[in-house]
């Protein structure tokens, strides 16, 4: 049977070579995301971020010998079944050399454990933040540019403490992302000496949260920490608590970071009353600005959650392909850490031509992405930077890096 495969392999390789000899080849990278499903509204800018990276690379000479980088979209629906199916499709049918994705931590867990790790395909997640991904037994095939919840949860707790909050109520949406983040936050805030007066899980996508909020406000608290997606329940909770006069001050993490929060609740109400941490970038950093200007031109907000992460993950894979000098999956996985971590010529978003030249000259490169250093540790995780965002005078979010 094995022999038959090899004959088939040989035959079709010859076909492929014959078919493409005259053209520059197409190199496919899987772009797995929860296009439909519970976070559909968050996924649109993330996919656009990935696409921007591919477009810039193709415009600046493409991969290897002028080959085109094609992002193959597959829908993980935030469901592990669909995640496994999407992974199987891009790995086997589309023959992708690497994968960016797959949005939700649950779908990512299924996809990498069941498909990509056994197949030896490297996957960089741009938005799966569950701590459980850190300790996967992954043969160095699972990376992520989104920092684990462990970092953001404690960053938010520290921020709350530094801003004078001593007693907080908290509520979290019962999903893989928010439940993990809330757990870390609770532990960190208590460790600092703060008091959690009430901690209440809620089911996302309900029409009203007034009764939950009334219970939460019962013991008196200076503010409410919300861990939720803005669309699933976050906006509804803020609206309900403001309208009912239960909470005026809010803390939140990046699932709540979206312009529509301000647009729907109102800038005047929120100004001075909300702080959101976001896995983000130094907004004054040239790397971020390079990304932000290009992304804004495509009609998306550069601050959209995880859009910059999508860009960086795609750019890193392209660098790894270039560095490996081939589309061999194992070589790409091996090259990934080298192009992400120092030492090397610093490459910023959009600087594909520079990176290509440096690599061609045999130099090392070190990608400094839109979201930060992107230096992978032994688990394939990054520390990540966080910004604190408040409502600015123009009715938009304005952020400062937490230093």
């Amino acid at each position: 049977m094995m022999k038959t495969f090899k004959q088939l392999a040989l035959a079709s390789t010859m076909l492929a070579v014959a078919g493409t000899a005259a053209f520059a080849a197409e190199i496919k990278v899987g772009s797995v995301a929860g296009v439909t499903g519970p976070i559909a509204e968050l996924v649109v800018p993330i996919v656009a971020g990935r696409q921007l990276a591919a477009d810039q690379i193709n415009a600046a000479g493409g991969l290897l010998n002028g080959d085109t980088l094609t992002m193959v979209l597959a829908d993980s629906q935030c469901d592990p079944k669909a995640g496994v199916d999407a992974g199987t499709k891009v790995v086997n049918v589309e023959q992708v050399v690497a994968i960016v994705g797959a949005s939700c931590s649950g779908a990512t867990n299924g996809m990498v454990q069941s498909v990509t790790i056994p197949a030896g395909v490297v996957a960089i997640s741009d938005s799966a933040t569950a701590p459980s991904i850190t300790d996967l037994d992954d043969n160095d095939l699972v990376f992520r540019v989104a920092a684990s919840d462990a970092y953001q949860g404690s960053a938010l707790a520290q921020l709350a403490w530094n801003n004078g909050y001593r007693t907080l109520a908290m509520t979290y949406a019962n999903d893989d992302y928010n439940a993990g983040l809330a757990g870390v936050f609770e532990v960190s805030f208590k460790a600092l000496g703060g008091t959690i007066t009430a901690n209440q899980m809620h089911e996302p996508n309900k029409a009203s949260y007034r009764s939950e909020l009334s219970t939460l406000s019962g013991n008196g608290a200076e503010g409410l920490a919300i861990f939720a997606y803005y669309g699933g329940s976050g906006i509804a909770i803020m609206r309900n608590s403001l309208e009912a006069g239960l909470f005026e001050k809010f803390l939140a993490a990046d699932g709540m970071f979206d312009q529509s929060v301000i647009d729907q609740i109102g800038a005047d109400v929120l100004r001075e009353n909300i702080m959101i941490t976001q896995a983000a970038s130094d907004y004054d950093d040239p790397s971020y600005l390079a990304f932000a200007n290009a992304f804004e031109a495509t009609g998306h907000s550069p601050q959209a959650p995880y859009a910059a992460h999508g860009y960086d993950a795609t750019f890193l894979i392209a660098l790894a392909i270039e560095k490996a000098g081939s589309t061999d999956r194992a070589a790409i996985s091996a090259a990934l850490r080298e192009v992400a971590n120092p030492p090397g010529v610093v490459i910023r978003p959009g600087e594909w031509a520079k990176a290509k030249a440096a690599l061609a000259a045999g130099q090392d490169v070190n990608y400094e992405g839109a979201v930060g250093q992107n230096d992978f540790d032994d688990n394939g995780d990054v520390t990540g930077l966080f910004s604190v965002n408040v409502v600015g005078t123009d009715g938009k979010w304005t952020g400062d890096l937490i230093r």
Partner: protein, 315 residues
């Protein structure tokens, strides 16, 4: 890597997914096809089977109850038993309900079961799910691991098919279709109709539990989203209706065919550029819905309609 080999592996994954869904459609076929029980709570038995098998077979973990490191076959048997017991309890309270009422009651019970697994975080790790579920033959070299995984699933489906065909042609199966066709005369003939319905419901629930358990092992990861009613209940109905309700071959064909369509249509829509690819994900769902309508209108009995038993079939 080579394209044809890739298609071959994708084909195996279609067969594996389709085969696991076939366990669900065969289970539904006993309930709906044979006996006329409109169980819309497939996702509930699916999630029970998946979590029972996952928790029993994983290595010990501090994230959830257990794990108990059981061998996979033992944990699958346990998944069937627990699903059967829950199926029995559900049947006891709701079996007298007719058609749509039973459907809505079971749909509600399934949501309650799913919420329980989602909220009892200490037992199940809640929304964060259970990882490191062992997969049969995962340590074999590729492609043998995938061939054997598909083979195990298809072998189970074949065994179930064989047993169900035997059951259908047995006196038990004949009484079942008699109940479905004309309950009154079955009662008049002295049959304990409710008891027989409970039996059919329990057997079907056990098979759905088996399907859930198999899915957990195949995915190596399970969370409550995997038991979303759209893909764990409605899709199963679509598969059975398209294949042919009341026909075991149809149930299997429908599962594999519909899964293939559900999955493979994306290969074409993702060829579209940029934003269009995202929008086309919605179009794909539209086309699946439309195809279902056309199927229902043109082939209301499914691709393989039920064959009514003739008296000569009894031996």
């Amino acid at each position: 890597m080579d394209q044809l080999y890739g298609y071959f592996l994708y084909g195996l994954s279609l067969l594996t997914f389709g085969g696991i869904y076939a366990m669900l459609t065969l289970g539904l076929n006993i309930q709906l096809g044979f006996t006329g029980l409109f169980n819309a709570g497939i996702a509930g038995f699916f999630v029970v089977g998946a979590y029972v098998s996952a928790i029993l077979s994983t290595a010990e973990s501090e994230r959830h109850l257990g794990g108990f490191d059981w061998p996979i076959p033992a944990s699958l048997v346990a998944a069937m038993l627990v699903s059967a017991v829950i199926g029995w309890a559900v049947a006891r309270i709701s079996i007298r309900l007719r058609a749509d009422y039973l459907a809505i009651a079971t749909l509600g019970i399934a949501e309650i079961l799913r919420l329980t697994f989602k909220n009892e975080t200490d037992l199940t790790n809640g929304a964060r799910g259970v990882s490191y579920i062992p997969k049969p033959y995962e340590n074999m070299p590729e492609p043998w691991n995938q061939i054997l995984m598909a083979a195990v699933v298809l072998a189970i489906v074949a065994v179930l098919y064989f047993l169900l065909e035997r059951a259908r042609k047995s006196p038990w199966g004949r009484v079942m279709s008699a109940i479905r066709e004309n309950e009154g005369s079955a009662r008049a003939a002295g049959k304990d109709v409710d008891r027989l319905r409970v039996q059919a419901f329990v057997v079907g629930a056990a098979m759905m539990g088996l399907g859930g358990g198999m899915m957990a092992h195949y995915l190596k990861f399970i969370d409550p989203n995997a038991a979303d009613p759209t893909t764990a209940t409605f899709l199963v109905f679509v598969m059975l209706i398209v294949g042919g309700s009341g026909n075991n071959k149809g149930a299997i064909l429908g599962a594999i065919l519909m899964w293939t369509i559900w999955s493979a249509t994306e290969i074409f829509t993702s060829m579209l550029p940029g934003d269009l690819a995202i929008r086309s994900a919605y179009v794909r769902v539209f086309l699946i819905g439309l195809m279902l309508q056309i199927m229902l209108q043109k082939f209301p009995d499914g691709l393989l309609p039920e064959k009514r038993l003739q008296s000569s079939d009894s031996r």
